[in-house]
């Protein structure tokens, strides 16, 4: 079996399709499957808001902070690693908009000038900053308000604009999931492209319409929507922008859609024209999002170890300010903009020079184009660090929901769960450490493999010269991540 990708990124792998599995396939084909998942998640979100606002003020004893920052984040990255973009599939944020749209359909389309990921990227960086600035992990009330704000923002955007504008252009969690899901083993794709070639109705993108009555002058009513993220299935490549909503599955009259096994990161090794995206090599916004995704992983991990506090104290002394906002703001600008610009820019310039390109006018533009193509190689490493970090919290706090749930039940007069067993924790840090190392190495191998593929594609015989600088960057990144993860965890600044 060859693992060399086709131009469209489809390596031959054993056929495994969620939709063909017993029970799971039946459930996912059920028209209201997503609504069912969203409803469960929405009820859970409502309970977390109530618990966050009115439950214990201490974060480790509040279900809101525990379930959001320990369990949801862990489940999110593990879901992406083992399955695909399953959180977007059951995202409860879409439920209010579905209800709203039963009353009033939005008429505006998302402005053309905003059809790039810059807003989503900015909000993703802002979410990382807010998490540190407001100590969200330590504040049940702030966590509850973050949930409320998220629901309000999603409803506001999707009440104004048609389609899945919030998911595609705004949602910071969605942008995280889109980049991370390039490493997922499953993808929504056409089962047989020859079937698509003979298709005339294009239901997967247009939706399915009820046949109008013979004498009717009204427009036919849509009974099933097509992809709201503008991904036309025959030309869809990979998981970027796919929310696994399965609208295409329900729309396709030929039953020609699969949620199929594929090689993780394969979509990063090829650069075909992609429906709804164009070529990745032309998308500066997606390249920047990938870079922020990767450097954000380091910065987020940096925020929980001792050296960051030493650095913050040093900065506070030198700048003569104790403002968290200012000091964190500077750290975030350095970590998410200055450092990536310098490292990725220098690597691209060096790789371009080393690969036999003569210095000439336009060298800067060429280096920029090179950086844009190769920035995507940071996605596997970035995902490896997110996995290592979130799984550390998830696994070391694996059983903590038991005493917190017992405590919540006790507070409300339900004694059936027994007295809180506060001693329950999770796996010992020493056991989790090899898992963290494994995730970072998994990311490193993925990044190196993708880099080699791109170097082969773009530089032919000079591939090794183009490969080395990027491999160097990936190694430095991986070593930095391992050093950060090896630091003993420290939690500060939660009394402010």
């Amino acid at each position: 079996m060859s693992l060399r990708p086709s131009p469209h990124g489809h390596t031959a792998l054993p056929r495994l399709d969620w939709l063909r599995l017993p029970l799971i396939g039946g459930f996912l084909r059920w028209k209201h499957a997503r609504l069912g998942m969203q409803s469960v998640m929405a009820v859970l979100a409502a309970l977390l808001v109530v618990e966050g606002l009115f439950g214990p003020e201490l974060a480790p004893k509040n279900l809101s902070t525990l379930l959001v920052w320990v369990y949801w984040r862990g489940a999110l990255v593990l879901g992406l690693l083992l399955l695909g973009n399953v959180f977007c599939m059951g995202c409860p944020l879409m439920l209010p908009r579905e209800l709203f749209r039963r009353i009033r359909e939005p008429r505006r389309t998302w402005p053309r000038v905003l059809r790039r990921k810059w807003i989503g990227l900015g909000l993703f960086a802002l979410a990382l900053f807010t998490y540190e600035w407001l100590d969200l992990w330590a504040s049940p009330a702030a966590t509850a308000w973050a949930i409320i704000a998220y629901f309000a923002a999603a409803l506001f955007v999707d009440a104004l604009f048609r389609g899945a504008s919030f998911c595609k252009w705004v949602c910071p969690v969605g942008q995280f999931n889109f980049i991370a899901s390039t490493l997922s083993p499953f993808e929504v794709k056409a089962r047989d492209h020859t079937v698509c070639q003979s298709c005339t109705t294009k239901d997967c993108i247009k939706g399915t319409f009820e046949a109008p009555a013979a004498a009717s002058t009204t427009a036919p009513r849509r009974v099933q929507r097509g992809c709201e993220l503008d991904l036309f299935l025959p030309a869809k490549v990979g998981n970027i922008d796919c929310t696994f909503c399965l609208d295409c599955v329900h729309a396709c009259p030929e039953d020609n859609v699969a949620v199929a096994l594929r090689l993780p990161a394969e979509e990063l090794r090829v650069d075909p024209m992609r429906s709804g995206l164009g070529r990745l090599s032309n998308r500066s916004d997606l390249a920047a999002l990938t870079v922020v995704f990767a450097f954000g992983a380091l910065l987020n991990a940096f925020g929980m170890v001792g050296p960051v506090y030493a650095l913050q104290r040093c900065m506070a002394a030198r700048l003569g300010t104790e403002s968290d906002f200012v000091i964190l703001g500077i750290l975030f600008v350095l970590g998410l903009a200055v450092l990536p610009l310098i490292t990725v820019g220098a690597t691209a310039w060096l790789a371009d020079r080393k690969s036999g390109q003569e210095p000439q006018a336009g060298a800067l533009a060429r280096a920029f184009s090179h950086a844009r193509r190769f920035s995507f190689t940071l996605a596997p490493l970035g995902f490896g660090v997110w996995l290592a970090h979130y799984c550390f919290h998830f696994l070391t706090g694996l059983w903590t929901f038991i005493p917190v749930a017992q405590h919540a039940a006790e507070r409300h007069g339900l004694s059936g769960l027994g007295r809180p067993q506060w001693g329950l924790g999770g796996l010992h840090e020493a056991w989790v450490w090899p898992i963290e190392v494994g995730f970072v190495l998994f990311g490193l191998i993925g990044s190196l493999a993708v880099t080699w593929s791109l170097a082969e594609r773009d530089f032919g015989v000079h591939r090794a010269r183009a490969f080395r600088p990027w491999a160097g960057l990936h190694l430095v990144y991986a070593c930095t991540a391992l050093w950060l993860l090896a630091q003993p965890m420290e939690m500060r600044g939660t009394f402010l």
Partner: protein
Amino acid sequence: MLLASGAAWLTGACSDSTDRTQGIRAALRFEPAPHVGTVHCTVALTDASGDLAACTDVELEATMNHAGMVPVFASAHPEGDGVFTSTLEFTMGGDWILFVRGKTDDGRAFETVSDVPGVRHLPKTAAPDSVPAPGPGE
């Protein structure tokens, strides 16, 4: 019914932030200075007038304010005159919160809350001094 449930939830929640000190204040002293590992803690409990308070069933709970933290519990041994000693295991560096719970001499349950900021990982060669925690907090 929904309103009643909401009111019950709110009532339960509000009780969480009520003053449970019963006028008791806890002064803490650590030997050695708070660091990751085992630390001996001396707790002096005083009443509203500042006199040492005879209390019983005193126990300590140390935790950190972040989701997923596993708290550390320790019972305290009476040394007489409202002074208790205990041994705590700080499992992580950073800012800790220490709850002291017990019963006053007339049987009322109390709970005090103190901050123990800046617990550090010690280098293996370091020999920390004895330092009091920065004042009792409520």
